[in-house]
């Protein structure tokens, strides 16, 4: 694909509990490439990230998810259109994965209604950690494209999506540090989750007693890639039928 021949602008800030990097490119001679214009485009991207965090993080006091988790049985929490769209996706993934992907982490008891998100029983709680970073990346990419970035990428702690450019990819070595060259990504999203053996505390568990492994998924958008790493990791199946449905591919890298 034709690459921008103007300079790349690459910035990173802490957000979503990790470091979020935005890279944007312009063609040389493009009038919109003036410094203040580029800064404004970057800000549009970071603002989109901040908006997802404020509306959906369970740690953000006023977010819909925090309010839901604190709500009493029977309460309905109103939702912004973007938040509703994400929860619809969560619902769809839950059904399509036969319950394997579950933003209620087994507690169930939530229902999307016209008025908002209804809490069906008191023990129900939601955690969008398996989906929110990828979703935020997609929203930021949309904002950057709308603001005029010809090409670029958004990388939220290893969940990334690029457009207009082929991105060289490296995989972090979680055990010993450093990165290993993996390949390249063209026009799409890539997410990686780390799964550990059953006796490793605090890590997602890979099925079948497989020892520590990375699961990577490439998909057209980052929310799907993010969610599908969980499905592949939990089932241990890099050819899970859900991958085809979402135009995705998966890899399992043993450590």
């Amino acid at each position: 694909m034709p690459a921008p021949d103007g300079a790349w602008l690459r910035r990173a800030r802490p957000a979503l509990g990790t470091l979020v990097e935005i890279g944007i490119g312009w063609r040389a001679g493009d009038a919109s490439a003036a410094q203040h214009a580029r800064a404004a485009v970057l800000e549009a991207g970071f603002a989109a990230i901040a908006h997802v965090q404020a509306s959906l993080s369970r740690f953000a006091a006023d977010s819909a998810i925090a309010r839901y988790n604190a709500a009493a049985e029977g309460e309905v929490v109103p939702l912004e259109p973007d938040s509703r769209e994400l929860l619809l996706l969560a619902n769809e993934l839950h059904a399509a994965s036969a319950g394997c992907f579950d933003v209620s982490l087994g507690s169930g008891g939530w229902r999307l209604e016209d008025a908002g998100l209804r809490k069906l029983h008191a023990a129900s709680h939601l955690d969008l950690g398996g989906l929110a970073k990828g979703w935020a990346v997609d929203r930021a990419v949309a904002a950057l494209q709308e603001a005029g970035a010809f090409a670029g990428w958004v990388n939220a702690g290893g969940d990334l999506r690029g457009w207009g450019v082929e991105l060289p990819l490296a995989l972090r070595d979680e055990a010993t540090g450093g990165v290993r060259h993996l390949g390249s990504l063209g026009e799409g999203a890539f997410a990686t989750s780390c799964f550990a053996a059953r006796n490793s505390p605090g890590r997602q568990v890979l099925a079948g007693g497989v020892r520590a492994a990375h699961v990577s998924v490439a998909a057209p958008c980052c929310a799907w890639a993010d969610a599908l790493t969980k499905v592949v990791g939990i089932t241990g199946d890099p050819h899970h039928p859900l991958l085809q449905r979402y135009d995705a591919r998966a890899w399992i890298h043993q450590q």
Binding site: A12, T18, D159, G188, A191, H253
Partner: protein
Amino acid sequence: MRAPVVVIAASAAVLGPACAFAVEYMSVEQAQRSLFPQADRFEPQAITLSPAQQQDLQGRLGSTWHAPHWKVFAALKDGQQQGWVVVDEVVGKFELIGYAVAVGSDGAVRQVEILSYRESHGHEVRLAPWRKQFVGKKAGDAIQVGRDIANISGATLSCNHVTEGVRRIVQTLDVVRATHAGA
């Protein structure tokens, strides 16, 4: 939507050797101008705390206060202080992160910008020789795997070290501000 074109190295099942990765995002000067675009001057400031202030800070932070290795600059416009830019560096398990935080004259964080990100295998990030190779590097002189646009994928890297560093900076400046206000 179309499936992304992903070219993964043939030996993806067994990946190659681990190497270092680094990105220089901004110089200190670029960060100052970005964080306080209205300022016309940035004046280095030393922070020294009296024993009473140190004790106050220890209570706020819940840990013993050590003199920090920060670079502190007062952001000035027409001689009036608009706030501070504080430059700090934090070390994680395998990463060394340089960052700058803008604090307004009201003590609130205005923005945090990452200046540099360096990652390595083993414990190199803590070794002086490894860190020295980056001294004098300007933004744009990136040392990177492959091309200038290489990206890392992996399990999520936490920004806890950075947010904890920012918290310490904000609390310290709060103590300094309280003193200057004659409190």
